[in-house]
């Protein structure tokens, strides 16, 4: 039985082709291990490989949980799986930015105003492109 509702499942099905294409174009891969769970495998400029898990509970209404694992379906509690990028907090296993559920939880003031979760357009593509951009342009190395 799926962990997400039918609306989420249908909305993700509509948006995931564009997100997969964007990932492929950037030399990354986007795969799904269960409905609402995506794994984005990316290469940093230094050749290091990173795997981000993007987990949706209700799409597109709520921001996804974004964490890193050593491999697809891997554990989410290893700091060495995390890249060093401003706002990415390996020690807390979270990304303190408006495009994640963790960031929205830490900053309750983001719930309204310009940092509020948009819930419009292709949110899956947006999150994938944010991660790809961060690993390409803002990357500083691997977390210890």
């Amino acid at each position: 039985m799926s962990a997400v509702d039918l609306e989420t499942e249908l909305a993700l099905a509509q948006d995931e082709d564009a997100a997969r294409t964007a990932a492929t174009h950037a030399g990354a891969t986007l795969e799904s291990s269960a409905t609402g769970i995506y794994w984005l495998t990316m290469r940093a400029p230094d050749g290091e490989r990173y795997v981000a898990r993007i987990a949706w509970t209700r799409y597109p209404d709520h921001a996804p949980s974004v964490k890193f694992a050593p491999e697809v379906d891997g554990p989410l509690d290893q700091t060495s799986a995390w890249p060093l990028i401003p706002g990415y907090r390996a020690g807390n296993y979270d990304i303190c930015q408006p495009f994640t559920a963790e960031g929205q939880a830490v900053h309750s003031e983001w719930g309204t105003g310009p940092e509020a979760w948009p819930a419009t357009g292709n949110c899956l593509l947006w999150v994938v492109e944010q991660l790809l951009h961060d690993i390409t342009d803002r990357y500083q190395g691997r977390s210890g």
Binding site: T120, G121, N122, L125, W126, T136, D137
Partner: protein, 110 residues
Amino acid sequence: MVIGVNHSAHQEASMAASEGKGPKPKEQLKVTVTFPISPEGPFHAEKESDTAVGAVRGEAMTFFAIAGDGQHAYYLTHSSRRVDDGVALESVAGNAKAVKFTLVKELIQG
């Protein structure tokens, strides 16, 4: 007696271009800008190849009804990499006749 040939400036430019001399003629490039979280879009335009990326960003922000503010940085990325406003489109496009960007909104965290 001097027998001259009265070429117009335009003719001379055409001749120079056809001989591989002179400035490279401006090309039109098809430009697309996506902003995934917008219900609108994508933004499409045709621009001369020497147009600055910043001009495209500005038009795209207007299209997506985004006003700049002091809390966010807005810029375009191409292949996930940030492209500065001063860069000409032809530098990004290379030999391609079309170029696609993504508009990024970045929170400036203090």
